[in-house]
Amino acid sequence: MSAAEAVEPEAAVNTSATSNERVRDGQLTALTPHQVGTYELKNRIIFGPHRTNFCHDRALGEASLAYYGARISSDVAMVVTEDLSVDPSDWPYEYAPEIQRSLPTLALLARLGYRHGTAVVASLNHSGAEGSSAYSQRVLLAPSDEVDVDAMEPPKSMEPYEIDLLKGAFRAAASNAVDAGASGIEINVSQRSVLRQFLSTLTNYRVDPYGTDRSLLFRETIGEIRHAVGNGSILGVRLCVDERASWGGITLETAAALLNDVGALLDYVVVTSGSGFTKYLYRPDFHQPAGFNADRARDLHDRSQGRSWALAVQGSITNIGIGEQLLNEGFCELVEMTRALICDPDLIPKLRTTQSPRPCIRCNQGCLPQDTRNISVRCLINPDSGWELSTASDGETTRNELGLPDHSLRRHRRSRRELGVHIVGAGICGLDLAIRLHEQGLDSVHLYDSQDEPGGTLRALAANRFAGNFDELLAYYLDLLTHVDVNIEQRFIRDLSDCNSIRDGDVVAYCVGAQPIPPEVLNGTSNGSVWIDTASIYSSPGIAYNKTVVLIDEMGSTESIATSEILLDSGASLHIVTSDPVFGTRSASTGDLVPSLQRLRARDCTVHTASRFILSTSNQHEVRPSGFVSPIFGHQKKYVTFDHLAEVGRRQSRPTPSNEALLNVHTFRLGDALAPRSISEALLEAERCATTIYEMLRLP
């Protein structure tokens, strides 16, 4: 099979336990306490280390405090910080925090954790060959000169004195962290770690003692750290047990042997997988099943009889049902649910109520900032996650539809009883707004939708399983709706007078979404009948059965990939034409770029990169439409006959209802009705609109 391990779905967990499982406190194993070293964790749930891009000046700061604070104060047992570089020479990305500069905020976090009974653990790391010289302008360090495929830069093979300095740096970092109040330390021996590089046959070709015994540096470092922090602090290791490279690397056998040696010094081990070649398998998107590391964790448990350390299972554990199932099997004691807690920081409190947590759908579209744009961590489906600091400071603003502060809106105060809010469109934007307004105690909210079922574009998205788990998101919203007292009136609002008892001074929120427009290549032609739009493809993919489809793509997004896959799955023969050099590049941050190409290569799909599509104009007499795939840099055009033509991302905002009655209402266009973008903007704008309406109603 392929060089990196084939991405096969694994029968890891029965995921029929859904996010809607609600059990009262006391019945869930996940909510029971557990002893880790000398520390009693209040439950089994961990918020694991991940890149936030908050750490300007290489220090944990205010944004980190607010972000972790939201999880600390909502009952998470253990919050592990982003990797802190143990030495300034390790500067893997621009906002990579380093331990010295992070101590002040770490101390504040620790105090906050103490108040809430949450363990605050500092993750310590040195990236080695998986780092970057772009910021430090200094050479990378590694066991050997093996080049990491992402860093693409030969490192320096560390000299003995540098290995000593590295151990010293870990030691000092650990000491300083616990002196600052951290409950403990987690050592990164998984993704982007020099310690992992020393352990691995893929990256360590040394002939000195640190090469002939690849576990030496790890064992020495752990020993020295435990000695430095004493027995009163938690010491955990994040360990890659499977590099998913068929020709070598760390295996469960070597990992188990390692833990046999140093296990007595450890309080917990987080089991991860994925190496330098398979970074995208470390926190994969929905294409990998939930709980995909469970088998590895079980295997490690089986090989580690009599262990004194707690085993934490990691890997797409995105709802409590899965976590609970794994805990109840008995091979693990802790569950890391990082993305679930990014999506909903209030996951745990909600378990004690009838409320479902917002479901992490593993889209990876906001929570894995990997590239140099330094985008801060966020969540596609939760507009507050990652913005805790700014929400705290500017949450009380009236804004116009362009998102800009508009103080004039404050003057239009109406009483709660008087103000009518009319939401035109019950897609995710309108639904979210209606729910928020209900929660704010607003009585007269009218929600209209022209379709017989709510959900709008989200419903179409949910129909395409290749697009992800959007069906779970839709279910979440429909479930929320049953808890609020808002009726959806099925009605097409052509004119504002169609709204129920609309009056002067009312608010109208246009959440009418976007409509498809034909591919640009069809402009000015009479070939409109060959066009199929993506929403139709998602809802009725059968139209492509046994047909040849030309899919033009200038977006290169996850939508591009999902559209291709549903067409192929419905039996289409597909030509993808894109001017990009590689298809789907904008999906790279989700980790699905390479897997998507693997999947497409296996199907009846021809991807024409660096190309444009030109329609034949002279085919009126032919039975089938035809065109040319024309390479941007060459001259050899390829003639293609086809049945259907589609283009990814061709939408425009739907027209808003006219206002013939000339009512003096306040109007907002939200979401795709303002500009067709993503769920993220729709939810953010719904939130802002709700806040604005709230402010408009506030008494002076």
Partner: protein
């Protein structure tokens, strides 16, 4: 009056502002901003060019509105907190006799909401080809708000000492989007005919002039040709220029070509595109209007600049990269020794290349570019023998206590050795350089011998010129070994001996001759021995940069066919940030060079190469006569290890001898040694 370049050094008035010469450090992104504010990094950077003699500095764009935040390190010109920062910058520049204008802008749809979380503004709901985010088609009240924000931003800048304002209406700009038929599909008075499409610009000019008053200069940067389908072309640009002139409110027109998000490779052309390539734009506009015209486009030689002025193609010359590489360009060109200019290579590696990666701007051969405010060291306690050290740890007694002139022996006259020689000489050390080959430059000189890469060699030329000025001689054809070290008995040994080819697992040795059967060799060997490879030649590229692509163009002259295979998802993936992809693909197509991505070599046999397509697992056999590897090399640091036991000798390795990387690291490490020794 400078005799050699009389026009270049003649003064010129732009409105009521007078410049001492025609040399402009035109607007360009730097990524120096910190939290949306101009920084000390900016101040020191601009001051250095003012000190170096530039007549006019135009800052990078200052954004006029919070809805405009296309890249992280944008300067938020709408934020009043910029004032004290502006003042320090303008004062620093004025101190050295240069003038400074502020370019102001709103990028419209050529932007992103990822930082601002605000929707994008544009004339029409059309997504940008690079950013791909759908904007809002703004209404007339919003256009009025836009004008207001330009006015206050401009006024703020002039209040804080800027001598003029340049309106960015090209490259990446909401004004350009209004002007361009590609992006403006409005049906109101701001869309349709050229008159309508120009309306926004002309109204804006009035608004800004009113805000800044009559003394400050006002310029407009206009695109002469967008180089895209249905875009602005020169005839429309001429009309717009005429209507700009007719307002009577504008003092100059700056020119450009291309669209930043569709044809950036023509805006910041690399060495593959000839100098003065966009000359027709300023030339045409200058003949259409009387306003002074600024031209630019890979102009880095004072002779070229003078000629462009003499030919009447422009009145002022924008020379950005020339002055990034050499901040003293203007004074040096005016001196008796213009050959001492540190010529820009137009490589785009550390200036443009870093912009695409959201990093602060620098220069491959001027490592102080972007570090004028702090020098090389990051931390006060930086040590060469810390983690990531260049040298072995020193016993305490021989540490920093030893100051004063050192006798330094440098083994190797490649870019790192030459840079170390320069840096150490400048600090008064006594330097001796010994090179094994018969000429300097190492791998870099070899690389520069390939098609389209000649200007890379200027890096070494510049270094050699500087060494000659300091009367440092290089001994060629000699190797440094233990005997020589004993004989010369230096205080410091610098091992700058470069790298050697590295054998991958599927190759037992590299060939230097083509015989029967498959010849297997490596790019450095091909260049060192000038091997004329024949037949069906394959290049296996693991680096993804110019090595393979320029080698392919070179080999095409002797081989029957040339194919590049790479494990990457496309060939030349590193060429994107240096803006060489389009020109590479055009050349590759014309030369019939095949490109096969997603492939790794698994084994070789007499008839050819066995590869695997790693995305499918499929195996392929490629019949070949020769295989050239472009892979990561190994450091040649034997001398460093051999001298471990020499008493009292301080030893360092740098450049490829430390780890084989790129040229800028050689230069940085050479300079670093100077600061630390």
């Amino acid at each position: 009056m400078i005799r050699r370049f009389p026009l270049l050094y003649s003064s010129i008035s732009l409105g009521r502002q007078t410049l001492r010469n025609r040399i402009v450090f035109a607007a360009h992104l730097t990524n120096f901003a910190s939290q949306g504010l101009p920084s000390e990094q900016h101040r020191a950077y601009y001051e250095e060019r003012a000190r170096g003699g530039a007549g006019l500095i135009i800052t990078e764009e200052l954004s006029v509105h919070p809805s405009d935040w296309p890249y992280e390190k944008m300067i938020h010109g709408f934020n009043d907190a910029v004032r004290p920062r502006y003042r320090t910058i303008t004062e620093s520049v004025h101190r050295h006799g240069a003038l400074i204008f502020a370019q102001i802008n709103h990028n419209g749809s050529q932007g992103s909401s990822l930082y601002s979380r605000l929707p994008l503004w544009a004339p029409s709901q059309i997504p940008d080809p690079l950013f791909r985010e759908m904007p809002v088609a703004i209404s007339e009240p919003t256009i009025a708000e836009l004008f207001e924000s330009y006015a206050t931003t401009a006024q703020r800048a002039v209040d804080c000492g800027f001598d003029g304002i340049e309106l960015q209406c090209s490259h990446s700009s909401i004004i350009r989007q209004f002007l361009s038929p590609k992006t403006n599909h409005r049906h109101d008075r701001y869309g349709g005919s050229l008159t309508n499409r120009s309306r926004v610009l002309l109204e804006l000019i009035n608004v800004v002039r009113s805000a800044i008053g009559p003394t400050a200069a006002l310029g407009v940067r206009l695109c002469g040709d967008e180089m895209i389908d249905d875009g602005i072309e020169i005839n429309e640009a001429v009309e717009v220029a005429r209507s700009i002139e007719a307002t009577g409110q504008v003092d100059y027109i700056n020119t450009s070509i291309g669209v930043a998000t569709a044809s950036l490779y023509v805006i910041e052309a690399s060495m593959t595109i000839p100098p003065l390539y966009s000359r027709f734009v300023p030339a045409t506009l200058r003949r259409a209007v009387d306003l002074p015209i600024v031209g630019s486009g890979r102009i880095k030689d004072p002779t070229q600049a003078e000629k462009a002025l003499a030919d009447g193609d422009m009145d002022l010359v924008g020379m950005v990269r020339a002055q990034i590489a050499d901040p003293n360009f203007a004074t040096t060109a005016a001196s008796d020794h213009p050959e001492r200019i540190r010529l820009c290579l137009s490589c785009n590696q550390e200036c443009v290349g870093r912009m695409g990666l959201n990093r602060w701007l620098s220069c491959i051969e001027n490592p102080l570019a972007g570090r004028e405010h702090i020098g090389h060291l990051h931390h006060d306690d930086e040590r060469l023998d810390g983690l990531g050290g260049l040298g072995a740890p020193m016993p305490r007694s021989l540490g920093s206590a030893q100051r004063g002139r050192q006798r330094v022996l440098i083994a190797g006259a490649g870019p790192s050795g030459l840079q170390a020689a320069l840096a150490l000489t400048q600090r008064g050390h006594r330097v001796k350089v010994i090179e094994q080959r018969s000429s300097a430059g190492g791998m870099l000189t070899l690389a520069a011998s390939l098609p389209t890469r000649a200007e890379l060699g200027d890096l070494v030329r510049n270094q050699l010129q500087a060494l000659e000025d300091r009367r440092i001689e290089i001994t060629f054809g000699q190797s440094v070994d233990l005997d020589l070290i004993t004989e010369l008995s230096p205080d410091v040994l610098i091992v700058a001996t470069g790298s050697a080819p590295k054998l991958p697992y599927f190759v037992s040795r590299f060939d230097t001759e083509q015989g029967s059967g498959l010849m297997v060799t490596e790019v450095g060997i091909v260049l060192t021995h000038a091997l004329p490879l024949k037949g069906s030649v394959y290049i296996f590229d693991e680096i993804g940069f110019h090595h393979a692509t320029s080698l392919a163009l070179h080999l095409r002259s002797t081989a029957d066919s040339v194919t590049i295979i790479t494990p990457h998802l496309s060939v030349g993936q590193g060429l994107g940030v240096t803006l060489d992809l389009e020109t590479w693909n055009t050349a590759a197509n014309e030369a019939d060079i095949r490109q096969l991505p997603e492939r790794i070599v698994t084994s070789l046999d007499e008839t050819g190469i066995n590869v695997m397509v790693h995305t499918t697992g499929q195996a392929e056999h490629l019949d070949a006569d020769a295989l050239v590897l472009v892979n990561h090399r190994r450091p040649l640091d034997d001398l460093y290890h051999q001298t471990q036991s020499v008493r009292g000798l301080k030893r360092f390795r740098l450049g490829d001898a430390l780890a084989p990387r790129r040229a800028h690291q050689c230069v940085i490490e050479g300079d670093l040694l100077g600061e630390l020794l």
